[in-house]
């Protein structure tokens, strides 16, 4: 196996005390942690630092490691037979140094020591779904890395999951040891952006543009839904920002029902006017008593009609 100089990895002398080792580890961990470090190689460096600390923070493991002596990093070596007898117990001729030292934490060779049932490892995975898949339910493939290779699971995500939801797949994680239970998988659900809809829980929102006359007079307009286009009645006098509800057209709740869909109205105006359109708008401006800024100017919304 290859020798790893854990003291050099952490940048501490071989006689460093526990507090020094801990500080050095935390500094390097903070620097290379996947949550903050995006540079290439950061994850590998973080694992290297964590491996070094896992050995040096434990008094027994550190003693075992120190007794291997000082070698060059990467040097091939074998622990002396006496070392194996004192520390390693069963032979680990194919293990690397980290495995060997990690095994010390799981117990030493001792007569009559029973194997303790160990629970399998938990896994966390993110799943990004399209809106339609979240609505109807779907099956996704998860690649889960185990010590003995990669396992692919086909997981059914039920209808009705929402953005940010967490699901627990009990007993589908890593296998247990010595009769211990299997671990779990924890899924984090995210929804891919949709070209039309914005989800809020099981409700859906979309923007609906209306012409000024549609908003003022009311109209029947075709709008999209997950089930296909439907006609929406826009009441006369609909203002910008109003939310028009389409009951039961939202996402499935997973309990047999559905959320609602809302059309968020905004009133659009033509970017340019044909001559006749301009005439009509100018006449409307002359005859109308509507004052949209009346509240701000403390004027009545509708002034007295001119004689």
């Amino acid at each position: 196996m290859k020798y790893k100089d854990y003291y050099a990895v952490l940048g501490v002398p071989r006689d460093a005390d526990a507090e020094t080792i801990k500080k050095a580890y935390r500094k390097l961990a903070r620097q290379h942690h996947p949550d903050v470090a995006k540079a290439e190689g950061s994850e590998a460096r973080f694992k290297e630092v964590a491996e070094a600390y896992a050995t040096l923070r434990d008094a027994d493991k550190r003693a075992a490691y120190d007794s291997l002596g000082t070698r060059r990093s990467g040097e091939e070596f074998s622990p002396p037979p006496q070392w194996q007898h004192d520390f390693a117990g069963d032979a680990f001729s194919e293990a690397d140094l980290a495995d060997l030292l990690a095994a010390l934490g799981r117990g030493r060779r001792g007569a009559g020591r029973a194997s303790v049932p160990l629970r399998g490892r938990d896994y966390e995975a993110g799943v990004r779904l399209g809106l339609e898949d979240a609505h109807r339910g779907t099956t996704v493939s998860l690649d889960v890395e185990h010590e003995d290779g990669t396992r692919t699971l086909a997981v059914t995500v039920p209808a009705g999951v929402t953005e940010g939801q967490r699901l627990r797949l009990r007993g589908k994680g890593g296998p247990g040891r010595h009769g211990g239970p299997a671990g779990d998988i924890y899924l984090h659900i995210t929804l891919a952006p949709h070209p039309v809809f914005r989800p809020d829980g099981h409700d859906l929102y979309f923007d609906l543009a209306l012409a000024p006359w549609e908003a003022a007079l009311g109209a029947e307009v075709e709008v999209p839904t997950l089930d296909g286009p439907v006609l929406l009645s826009v009441p006369a006098g609909t203002r910008s920002g109003r939310k028009l509800r389409l009951r039961g057209r939202g996402l499935a709740t997973g309990h047999g029902g559905r959320g609602d869909q809302y059309a968020v109205v905004h009133i659009d105006v033509p970017a340019s006017l044909a001559p006749r359109e301009r005439e009509l708008f100018e006449e409307l401006a002359r005859v109308s008593s509507f004052r949209p800024r009346a509240f701000i100017a403390k004027e009545p919304a509708h002034a007295d009609q001119p004689s």
Binding site: D122, G164, K172, Y186, P195, V196, D207, L208, A209
Partner: protein, 123 residues
């Protein structure tokens, strides 16, 4: 291997689990859960006097996240208890932002990228 309901359980406020199961899901001992309760990081929802103590499964994700940071940075349990509160607050704020973004029309939310205003395909 196909995994179907009821193996897929949503972790949400309405799903309560007993203390042993809660500890198991978070990778903690029951004693450590008691310690977090003492710190005020988690609040048990008791089943009644002498009844089984239960916890909301919605606490599991932030606690698992905090415990991962505990392992990564060799933190003590008290620090974990502080982290849990902040992680919950972050999750609440993220949820609020998502809700606000869903409700804002695109014309107003020009700082937000998102779906375009609905236009009829034949318009």
């Amino acid at each position: 291997m196909q995994t179907n309901l009821p193996d897929a359980l949503p972790l949400e406020p309405g799903l309560l689990v007993d203390q042993g199961e809660f500890a198991h899901m978070c990778g903690l001992s029951v004693t450590e859960v008691d310690e977090l309760v003492e710190y005020g990081a988690v609040t048990p929802l008791a089943g009644g006097p002498g009844g089984p103590v239960k916890f909301s499964s919605a606490l599991v994700p932030p606690l698992r996240r905090a415990l991962k940071l505990r392992a990564d940075f060799d933190l003590d349990l008290f620090t974990v208890s502080m982290l849990v509160s902040y992680l919950q607050r972050i999750a609440e704020l993220e949820h609020e932002v998502r809700v606000l973004r869903a409700h804002l029309p695109r014309a107003v939310g020009h700082l937000r990228e998102g779906p375009a205003t609905w236009r009829e395909p034949h318009a």
